[in-house]
């Protein structure tokens, strides 16, 4: 018979192995789904996970998708580690995009090395300010940050809709819901000719490095860690709880804003209705799959980015809708939460005992 026992303490290896287990279970579950749909599961999984990255262009696309995911997830890890549930990164991304895009339109046909940095900075500030709304409401009016940050996503989406249809729409654009293409000095430099990978990846890598330092080497990081483990202890140690909530939301919002501005000045080059394929929501999965650890998040972002690419290839070769990607993302989160059970319990296989038969 099988016996479930509580673990006395969580070992570090189990802590980082369960995400790997979750990925394998996802592949297995995906295989079953493809089988039910009438495909050869091995072939289908190959189309989904191997074909997309079997050439240089594919690898570049992988990094293009992973860049915003990693950046947002890093920001979210600050919130999640300190028990603040910011799930409105999508809104902060869009608002950062709006502010950055607005500044890019102001600099339309303007030359100068300073144009891009100003746009990037304003995008970060936009996301940051937008994230401060749930933070301030939480600290001063006791609202629930989950609801507020989530609802603000729709506010940002509708605002973007209004702007690209109305005041900011391209005067020569035949009423398409989009702005002008940004001019060249306002675009992220492309790293290699013919590939879409852009300088935004450096912003992401620098952010990962900085957040590692903040989380593990500073007083702020220490306070975040303690607050996440025990709010009572944080209060007893005299940490300024309210200030900290606002700071983690600001960091998180700034990262999402940066991701937004990276998208519109990078691969997209203008504002339109769909500047993000739900990167802000998917990044929540990335953050947890990466165990809220900066290095873990890098790997997680690559894996989750692959589900975006896989969905596109599967759409072309297998004629399944690209929303299969979301199915895989959902499965990753599902199996991750499921295998977290192993963190706290261990399963023992015992021989059958006679009297139990």
């Amino acid at each position: 018979m099988i016996k479930v026992e509580k673990r006395n303490n969580v070992s570090r290896s189990i802590y980082f192995l369960t995400p790997v287990l979750a990925i394998f279970l996802t592949l297995f579950g995906g295989g079953i789904i493809f089988f039910i749909l009438g495909f050869n599961p091995i072939e289908a999984l190959k189309f989904f996970f191997i074909t997309p990255i079997s050439d240089l262009y594919g690898l570049s696309e992988l990094l293009v998708k992973a860049t915003p995911l990693c950046l947002i997830a890093i920001g979210l890890s600050f919130c999640f580690k300190s028990n603040n549930w910011n799930i409105g990164a999508e809104g902060q991304l869009i608002f950062g995009g709006i502010v950055g895009g607005g500044v890019a339109l102001i600099f339309y046909n303007h030359d100068g090395f300073y144009v891009l940095p100003i746009i990037i900075l304003s995008g970060a500030i936009g996301g940051m300010l937008f994230a401060m709304i749930p933070a301030i409401l939480k600290t001063y009016f006791n609202t629930n940050e989950i609801l507020v940050s989530l609802m603000l996503v729709y506010v940002a989406k509708l605002l973007l809709d209004y702007l690209v249809v109305g005041p900011w729409s391209n005067p020569e654009g035949f009423n398409f819901p989009e702005t002008r293409q940004f001019s060249e000095p306002a675009r992220m430099p492309i790293l290699f000719d013919g590939l879409r990978i852009h300088a935004g990846i450096f912003i992401t890598l620098i952010t990962v490095f900085l957040s590692w330092i903040i989380l593990y080497k500073t007083y702020l990081g220490f306070q975040i860690k303690v607050s996440g483990l025990s709010l009572k202890t944080a209060k007893y140690a005299g940490f300024k709880g309210k200030t900290m909530i606002i700071i983690v939301f600001m960091i998180s919002g700034a990262c999402a804003g940066l991701a937004g501005v990276g998208e519109i000045t990078g691969p997209i080059g203008q504002l339109h209705r769909n500047i993000s394929p739900d990167y802000g929501f998917t990044a929540i999965i990335v953050a947890f799959l990466g165990r809220l650890n900066p290095i873990g998040i890098i790997f997680a972002s690559l894996i989750v980015a692959l589900t975006y690419l896989g969905a596109e290839t599967a759409q072309i070769f297998l004629q399944v809708p690209k929303y299969t990607g979301q199915v895989f993302q959902g499965m990753i989160l599902f199996f991750l939460l499921g295998s977290d059970y192993l963190l706290f319990f261990k399963i023992k296989f015992l021989g059958l005992k006679k009297n139990e038969l």
């Binding site: 303490n9 593990y216 080497k217 500073t218 007083y219 702020l220 990081g221 220490f222 860690k225 303690v226 483990l229 025990s230 009572k232 202890t233 209060k235 007893y236 140690a237 005299g238 940490f239 300024k240």
Partner: protein
């Protein structure tokens, strides 16, 4: 209908503590029984066994001479044992009737008729169709009682029912309980309030440290005699030399402090006054839940009350948070070792860094100075004889005693002028207790002051220079420790008054 309930040789052992040690008691219907004891005396464990929440290691329960198995709360219900817990288990947003019907398998009309009968019979005035959140604490308790009455209980157990009630509601409750008793329901009433025992109950069983120490008729008892039994007279004679601090410098003064909480389970503090001299230990006794938690948090700065005054060494500190108070050389050791004073998942040196103050230089320009924290931690581990020298060890691997030594060490190594500690030896073994007690005596000898909030009277009498009792958020007058006896403390703790 006669009901007899008997517990026989019940034992329950938790790691490091014998909660029930061969407890045998007999109850019969028509009487109200009091189960009296301090916190940790084993009352709650016994009651949990009777209501099926906890399984005993040994012993049996007999209902009408038949042995019954109580493996779950459902079994208790099947055997007609009803229980009203101290904290209510009601859905606040559902109506009274919905709350009652969740638990019942009767049809709605049938149930409503039954409930109306009960309301009429016992003269309860409750609107069945308003949400529970609109009810007062007393009314909520009545809903809980009705929930038990629906099932025609033979036994009704009430766990400290008056802790959330007003005086008027308490009187009402007593009238109802006496009526239930007349109707043949056996009532077991758990309390630590002596007056209630005398005014309500027929028989009283006193528990201390897991054992039943006396069973008697309440007619034969007085507040003093019950207090003696509850607290016990086996006092340690090793006592600190009590000093006279009349001419010493005053280091802490609180006057007219009031605290009103929004949380009904917290205790309000009324008109609190205290002062403390240099080198003195002030003991604050009381049964837990009488405002000790709130008082500790007010002293530490976790609760900040607008418009009060707390003077510490002639400086106003009322508005400062715990970290800022530490800069003024205060130190705090909370009751809850594993989720407040320290975090088990953190390493020893990280837990040491929780007591961060300017001169420690643990964090320079916002960066962690790991080397400094580790050096400092090593010093604490050796000075306070914690049985490890590995500062990288996660604190969850320390025993309770060693963790407490680490916490006390962390608080004391900065040579604070005042240490506030709350149940510092709770749950520790004798060796660790002695070590902590010696340390606390030592700091007074060095001219440092301490406030000891404790539910352990032996400890208070051993360490304090002056003692007072907190009861329902009010402090008794502060007495010199050499004039205080365990009996006096017991009376004050149970809400009585002396001279």
């Amino acid at each position: 209908m006669n009901t007899k309930l008997k517990v026989s040789e019940i034992s329950k052992i938790y790691p490091g503590c014998i909660a029930n040690d061969k407890v045998s008691l007999e109850f019969g219907s028509g009487k109200i029984y009091a189960l009296l004891g301090e916190n940790g005396a084993g009352k709650s464990t016994l009651v949990k066994i009777l209501s099926g929440v906890v399984k005993p290691d040994e012993g049996e329960v007999f209902l009408n001479n038949e042995s019954i198995k109580l493996n779950s709360p459902l079994d208790a219900k099947k055997n007609n044992i009803g229980m009203v817990f101290q904290h209510f288990n009601l859905f606040e947003t559902l109506s009274v009737f919905e709350n009652l019907s969740i638990d019942s398998d009767k049809k709605d009309e049938e149930l409503r008729a039954l409930v109306n009968d009960i309301l009429k019979k016992y003269n309860f005035k409750i609107d069945l169709d308003i949400p529970v959140l609109n009810l007062s604490a007393g009314q909520k308790q009545k809903v809980e009682i009705i929930r038990c009455l629906i099932r025609n209980p033979k036994v009704l157990i009430m766990d400290e029912p008056t802790s959330v009630l007003t005086e008027q509601e308490t009187d009402d409750l007593f009238i109802s309980l006496k009526q239930f008793s007349k109707d043949g329901i056996l009532i077991i009433y758990i309390t630590h309030k002596l007056k209630e025992v005398l005014s309500l109950c027929d028989e009283v069983a006193v528990m201390r440290k897991g054992k039943v120490v006396s069973v008697s008729n309440t007619i034969d008892e007085k507040i003093e005699s019950l207090a003696n039994k509850m607290v016990g007279e086996n006092l340690n004679t090793i006592k600190k030399k009590i000093n006279n601090f009349k001419n010493s410098e005053e280091i802490l003064k609180i006057s007219n402090l009031n605290f009103k909480s929004d949380d009904p389970y917290e205790t309000n503090l009324n008109n609190l006054n205290l002062s403390l001299k240099k080198g003195e230990c002030l003991g604050i006794a009381g049964i837990s839940g009488n405002g000790q938690n709130e008082l500790f948090q007010i002293l530490s700065g976790e609760i900040i009350i607008e418009g009060t005054s707390i003077m510490f060494r002639n400086k106003e500190i009322a508005k400062l948070n715990p970290r800022e108070r530490r800069e003024y050389l205060m130190a705090f050791s909370p009751e809850d070792r594993i989720s407040q004073a320290a975090v088990p998942e953190l390493k020893i040196y990280e837990n040491v860094a929780l007591n961060n103050f300017k001169s420690s230089n643990f964090f320079e320009k916002g960066l962690v100075n790991e080397k400094k924290i580790k050096e400092h931690s090593k010093k604490i581990l050796s000075n306070f004889s914690v049985n490890t020298d590995n500062v990288e060890l996660k604190s969850q691997f320390l025993s309770g005693g060693n963790l407490q030594k680490l916490i006390i060490g962390r608080e004391l190594i900065t040579s604070p002028e005042l240490l506030v500690c709350f149940n510092p030896t709770w749950g520790l073994d004798v060796g660790a207790i002695n070590y902590i007690h010696e340390t606390l005596i030592q700091i007074n000898e060095q001219g440092k002051s301490s406030i000891l909030i404790s539910t352990d009277n032996d400890e208070l009498l051993k360490l304090s220079d002056r003692i007072c009792v907190i009861y329902k958020g009010k402090l008794s007058k502060i007495m010199n420790a050499d004039t205080v006896t365990a009996e006096k403390l017991g009376i004050l703790m149970g809400g009585g008054s002396i001279d």
